[in-house]
Structure formats: structure tokens, C-alpha cells
Symmetry: C2
Subunit: 221 residues, 2 copies
């Protein structure tokens, strides 16, 4: 009934599509660097490591940015995906927990490239306060709310031990953070309007362990 607006329609994308858009974007940026002007779904699929039909279906959700018989304009598609992902906006990031991982995150190149900027780091160990991680000075956890608010932090990376993590998350959310990436080996809860994703090395290894075992068993008939 309702006539859907077409190109400017901010319709929700399927989750699976959202999770692949950054892969397409990376492939397109690399292609752009190589001065590739146009790309078919076949080629993009090969570069992204997925099926060509999947690429077309995913991209069709963004609108109609391809040309039949030709392919997709690399520059145009790059721009459309960037816009959808909100990479045109700036995201201020805080790192909580400055152990080995926190340091690695702070020094990671690839934030700045696409609109993410680390503006604060926190740790509850007084010995670490004052250290430099990436380009910011480590502050005590007590200053978390104040800094999150004053620096307009919307994204947080949790690199604390498991035990303190839920409390940290509650405080971050209370101070206005809306997106959280959790590296701590613990299940965290957030209110529904906050997005929480996790990166868990131990879990990934155990999954690899399962398939490794299956391969061994298959090998020995």
C-alpha cells in the first residue's frame, strides 16, 4: 500500500547483508586503488570470497546501482556502501582496559581510515594511568562518565578482564555509548537500543578445534 521511496529509503538491511558490506567496501577500495572503474558481481564476489548471486542480492537492498550488461561503477558503489555504513559520520571511540590487547587496539591503524577515532583509554590500574596508548593518555576508570560525555564517545572497546566487564558496560551505556565491541571472555547484557558485538579468541579456537577433530576422524575413515 504505502509507496516505498526508492533511493533515499533508509530501509533496514538484513543482518547478513550488513555484515558483508564492509567486505565489499574493502574490495571496492582496493579495486579503486588499481584504477578499476567497473566491476561485475562475479569479480566482486571472487574478491570478497562469496557467491555472485549473494553479491547481487545484497547490493539490490541498497538500491539499483548497477548497469545491466556492464556491472557496478566502483566509485559510485563505494560511496553508497560508505553512506549506508555511516562511515561519513565521525565515531569517537574509547578503549577500556589497557593490557596487551588494549595496547594493540590503540595502535591499530585502520581506525582513522574510516571515521573511527580513539579519543580515550581507561584502566583501573594506577600504574597504567598516564601511559600512552596509541595517541591518547590512559585515564583512571573514575573519569569514565565525564570523559565519555565531554568527548562524545559513542563506541567502546572492552578489553578488560571478564570480571569487571559488565560493570564497565553499564557505566558506558549510562554515559551515552551506543555501540560496544567486547573482547572480554564473558557474556554481557545491554539494553536493546545498544548494539553489542563480541570478539572472543577462546571461542574461535574451540570452534577450530571441533572442525580439526572432525577432519582427523574423517581422514581415518
Amino acid at each position: 500500500m504505502a509507496v516505498a521511496t526508492k533511493v533515499t529509503n533508509p530501509a533496514r538491511l538484513p543482518e547478513a547483508t550488513v555484515s558483508r558490506l564492509p567486505i565489499y567496501l574493502r574490495a571496492l577500495l582496493e579495486a579503486g586503488d588499481e584504477h578499476v572503474v567497473t566491476m561485475s558481481s562475479d569479480v566482486l564476489a571472487a574478491r570478497a570470497g562469496v557467491n555472485a548471486a549473494q553479491v547481487r542480492k545484497d547490493l539490490s537492498h541498497l538500491g539499483s546501482y548497477g548497469t545491466r550488461g556492464v556491472g557496478y561503477d566502483v566509485a559510485l558503489l563505494t560511496q553508497q556502501i560508505s553512506r549506508q555504513l555511516g562511515l561519513t559520520h565521525e565515531h569517537n571511540v574509547a578503549i577500556v582496559g589497557v593490557g596487551n590487547l588494549g595496547h594493540a587496539l590503540g595502535n591499530y591503524r585502520g581506525f582513522a581510515s574510516r571515521g573511527f577515532r580513539v579519543v580515550a583509554a581507561f584502566d583501573n590500574d594506577p600504574a597504567k594511568v598516564g601511559e600512552l596508548v596509541g595517541e591518547v593518555v590512559v585515564r583512571p576508570l573514575a573519569e569514565l562518565e565525564e570523559v565519555v560525555r565531554s568527548q562524545s564517545v559513542t563506541v567502546a572497546l572492552i578489553a578488560t578482564p571478564a570480571q569487571g566487564a559488565q560493570e564497565v558496560v553499564d557505566r558506558l551505556v549510562g554515559a551515552g555509548v551506543t555501540s560496544i565491541l567486547n573482547f572480554a571472555p564473558v557474556v554481557l547484557s545491554v539494553p536493546p537500543q545498544v548494539t553489542l558485538r563480541k570478539v572472543d579468541l577462546a571461542i574461535e579456537l574451540q570452534i577450530l578445534g571441533y572442525y580439526g577433530l572432525q577432519a582427523m576422524l574423517a581422514e581415518s575413515h
Copy 2:
């Protein structure tokens, strides 16, 4: 037609189930530490952050290890999941690429706990060769095949820059590695008998960016 053997049947588990077993396992280990003897699917679900029906369906794939009217025996279920995940086997791990991330991986506690042991680290920067990462000495990439074979490495963590990664993977696979966890921001190819999983910070951030943007748009009607 074929009569399926029951408990000892090493049937393939659904992928989605495999990816949740490590979460259940962690919850069960924590419960064990708290001297919890028995757990219902409701409680386990709450601790794992999933739906109770999901827990029961997942666990039903392992066999029938619950007691109706009571719940699951924590010790028994812990043991069954560990066995399924191959955690009773030892997995020798190599880290390739010893930058910030490689160091963080090398120092990560949580390998040893469940059958994974870092036995080698490699880097092609001569300045890094000889450094200590975790408990192993960094070796030059030239020694990769020799060490993978002599140390029976089956699992590799790729923490190199994007450009060298595919070549490293090819060499690892050639030398007998069967499971790879890729941290480099690039799409890698492996033969079908090798399991490849990826952890990609830039992609995770961009996904967060999408949902963060959606939340902002929703907020302003």
C-alpha cells in the same frame, strides 16, 4: 534405513550449534567453580545469553545428557562438550606476524587452559627475530615449514599485514596446518579440508557503525 548409533555417534553437528558450545562450556565451567551441581536449560540459557529452547535443541544433538524434571549434570555436560570440541586433544599453535597483535596473542592466557599451546612464532622482520613472544622465540619466516612439521603445528594465527597473508597461508597449509584463524584484513583462500575463520576489527567497527547510525535516525523520528 541405516540404523543410527546413538550416544557414540560422531554425527556432524549444525554449525550454529558448534559455535555456541564454547559459550555453554564456559558457563558450565564457571558454574562448576561455584559448586553448582545441576543446571536447567533456563539457567544455562540465561548465563549463555540465549533462548532456553535453543540450549535444549543444541544439547539434544550431543545425546541425551539431561534428566527430566531436574536439569543437566554440570560435570557430565562439561565433559561431553569438551570431548565434542576436541579439547581432550592437544593443539599446537603457531603465530605468524609479531606486531602489536601478535604479541597480544602470544601473551594471551586462555590457550593453555583448554588444550592449545603456542609452540612457535614467526616474523619476516630480522629485527624481531629472537624476540620473545609469550614463551617462544620469534623465528624467521624461512623456517616456517621446518618448524610446523617438527613441532606438529595444526593451528595457525595469522597476524601479518594483509599483503603477505595469502602466501603465508599457502605455506602453512602445505606444511600440514589444518585450522587457521585470520586476523589480517584480507580475504584468504584455503583448500576445502582446511578450516579458516576470521577476526576482523575493521569489519566489526563498520557493522557497529551501521547500527549506530540506524539508532540515531530512529531517535530523530
